[in-house]
Symmetry: C2
Subunit: 202 residues, 2 copies
């Protein structure tokens, strides 16, 4: 019993509600998302939506966190598919950036015209992005550590490096300027240079 019945049920409700909200966003934008419509589509009462997800503002955050989880799954998968650190990071960045292109939710948020940015969604990409960077950094660092390679960086320096990579990826997703493969190669290149410089240092 890895996951209990009760947890499954609770998770099922959450998922359904978020699925509905996400579908509405992707169809007609965030402003068309309505607590009543979510409740209706899922077949529960409006109050239950409030109980489970909280105010509408928080729904956007929940969606962001759920989407983040999808990206972190890619991170975990890809990081274990290469031995060399720089290659692993490059390969992972590419996968993440490609998912960013495929993700309908991300495209809807990022792709909306600046002027008509919904305040709630905009907030996610700015105020809340701190949490995103933090969560992603933790996962990436875990993957690097479990890779077990010898690094010319102190623990604190590793944190900085990881966070920088995460921020570069996030930036490339929100303001893409080149295809994923090349953007990933660029990030890997920078990281490689930094590691070489650190190695020379000693």
């Amino acid at each position: 019993m890895t996951v209990t019945y009760r947890e499954s049920v609770q998770g099922l409700l959450r998922d359904r509600l978020l699925d509905s909200a996400q579908a509405q966003i992707e169809r007609r934008g965030w402003s068309s998302v309505t607590m009543a419509r979510i409740a209706d589509e899922v077949g529960v009462s409006r109050q239950t939506v409030y109980n489970e997800l909280g105010a509408k503002r928080q729904i956007a955050e929940h969606l962001a966190m759920r989407e983040l989880a999808r990206f972190l799954d890619v991170v975990r998968d890809r990081m274990s598919e290469r031995d060399d650190l720089v290659e692993a990071i490059t390969w992972t960045c590419r996968g993440v950036l490609e998912l960013g292109e495929r993700s309908l939710l991300v495209r809807t948020i990022v792709g909306s015209v600046p002027g008509e940015h919904d305040p709630d969604l905009l907030a996610i990409l700015t105020v809340e992005s701190g949490e995103i960077v933090e969560a992603a950094s933790v996962v990436v660092k875990e993957c690097i550590v479990s890779l077990g390679a010898e690094l010319p960086l102190s623990d604190a320096e590793l944190d900085v490096a990881v966070e920088s990579v995460v921020r570069l990826v996030l930036s490339a997703i929100t303001r893409p300027s080149k295809p994923p493969e090349q953007a990933a190669a660029d990030i890997g290149w920078i990281l490689g240079l930094a590691l070489a410089g650190a190695r020379d240092r000693s």
Copy 2:
């Protein structure tokens, strides 16, 4: 909203309970299945098991019906993969018999030593098998009708033919004497002969 949230939850509970019961059967036999253990594994109270599934005897029936559904899925799939009726039936019988060999639940029930047959499980294969024959016959007939071939049989005669095939398959599952492919060919051969005879008749 093809299936509502509430239905999903109810179905989830049922499935979990039956999964647990089935796992216990396959591990240590029917007699080791306990209402308390089912409740415990799924993480609900013992009373909930009674509410949802009824007495222990009925759990065996539920399991049989659920397993039957798996077999009928195979029937529906295979019957649509051949144009000629006899070929379709032969192909379907083979698939069903092969599933019978793979099905851990079926193997556990059928394969248990005659002397130690648990009364409840034994009942399923005897008393309850009427329901099984009936349900399976309905599905098979539906498939035949939707196949749309011209048949030399009246509707009542078709019922008899279908039921006979179903009974032959059921028998081959419970008392297998040859590999699925050959047993299926045998059934198809009989059916072919019967149809030829019916055609001559007119």
